[in-house]
Symmetry: C2
Subunit: 230 residues, 2 copies
DNA sequence: GCCATGGCTATTGTCAATAATAGGGGCGAT
DNA sequence: ATCGCCCCTATTATTGACAATAGCCATGGC
């Protein structure tokens, strides 16, 4: 073989990564508010925007429909999904329940390895927060919570929790940019690490639930204001 | 228009239903044990077996992968997924937690409309049980639990619960054919209806959790026996 | 005899052309 | 003027052909 048929993998994002990239960009466009709820997501438009084939766009829409942030109607098309106040409250009710249960299952005091891991993730989180890097904040924040709840020992519970975290992404997104919410979030993360060193599981669980109240309340106020003055 | 271009919808299952049919048949083949865990699910084979196009078979495999009863590996193919004893215990741990929470959220005493609806569903269940109609038993049983838990008032919680019921389908399937388990199940359903007329939420929740112990224990014994004598 | 290498086969992944569908706007009848 | 019908367009759904990939077996060099 003197001439390689195709260059290995340098300029080509290897299809598999291309798919992931389309999903991520579409997700970002939605959760960061560039695509408003109710907006139609026409396949051809997205094909052009992301420079991807119909196949990948389709898959991305399916995936995000499954995640709950896109609504697809047969033979009509996809739109950015909108959640009413009641739906938001119900979603958070389940998320809070799962969070409390997972937190209570974490054996205290936590091993040093977990403390170290979380401290490291928290350091990255602060870095991204200072840099105002929206995507980075979101990713490091989720990584922190994922690592924390993984300590509950039940991967299926973690998976369900993750599903609800993804579902609430559009509601939490704005707070990733809000400096007040960001500062509160940071303090709560550090308090969580402290509580992991102690033995009070109940306090930890309550803190984890409290941790999500700010963005929930803020979102509820926001959609309530959007509706009334219109 | 003297001659209609295509007959309306009598012999053609309208594509949409064809997709659902493929999913249901594949699901049945797996949960009723016709396809053993670990068996390779080759697309072409399934295309032939179900008389469906590659597209529909693919979609069905995706759907059942999401449900957790099929395992797909990139560029390798799909297989019937196998769960270890530990995984089964973890899955049931979450299912029990969700079940208990949902049951506790049902307002007691329940309205007559719910009692009537459940009694009716229970009647259908008994009918199918007497007829030894496996698919019928499974469907009416799930309909009963779905109606019961829907009374908790939170559709998202119900959806998650349903996800776990689907995930445990392969473990519960054998009990749908087992006359002993069937009789126990029937008695427990009737007891649930009785408890719905009272005010003891805790008893109801405990009964709902107890209700799933028989099939779980039975499945764990079964896979433990499968492994050892080999 | 053993390991590396190359091609072969079975299988899945991708695509672009084609079919089906729903919704809207115009046109004619009343 | 209004109502109902039909065609037309925008959009998604389906399909089969084709490309890419992984695992296997045979073959040759050491």
């Amino acid at each position: 073989m003197t001439a390689e048929p195709t260059l290995p993998e340098l300029q080509t994002p290897s299809r598999e990564e291309e798919q992931a990239e389309v999903i991520r960009r579409l997700e970002e466009d939605i959760i960061f508010g560039r695509f408003a709820p109710g907006l139609r997501l026409v396949e051809d438009t997205l094909m052009q925007r992301y420079g991807a084939s119909r196949h990948f766009v389709r898959q991305a829409l399916f995936q995000l429909e499954r995640q709950g942030i896109v609504l697809r109607e047969k033979n009509v098309g996809a739109t950015v999904r909108f959640y009413s106040a009641d739906e938001v409250r119900q979603i958070y009710e389940v998320r809070e329940m799962l969070t409390r249960q997972a937190a209570l299952m974490i054996a205290l005091p936590a091993p040093d390895s977990l403390i170290d891991q979380l401290s490291e993730l928290q350091r990255h989180y602060c870095l991204k927060a200072d840099a105002q890097d929206m995507r980075g904040i979101h990713e490091t924040n989720d990584a922190f919570h994922l690592a924390l709840f993984s300590a509950c020992g039940n991967p299926y519970l973690v998976r369900s929790l993750q599903d609800y975290m993804n579902l609430t992404l559009p509601m939490r997104a704005k707070n990733l940019a809000d400096s007040e919410g960001l500062a509160l979030s940071r303090r709560q993360h550090e308090l969580m690490i402290e509580l992991l060193k102690g033995r009070d599981s109940w306090a930890l669980a309550q803190l984890c639930v409290d941790h999500m109240q700010y963005s929930k309340a803020d979102y509820l106020v926001r959609i309530s204001n959007d509706k009334k003055p219109q």
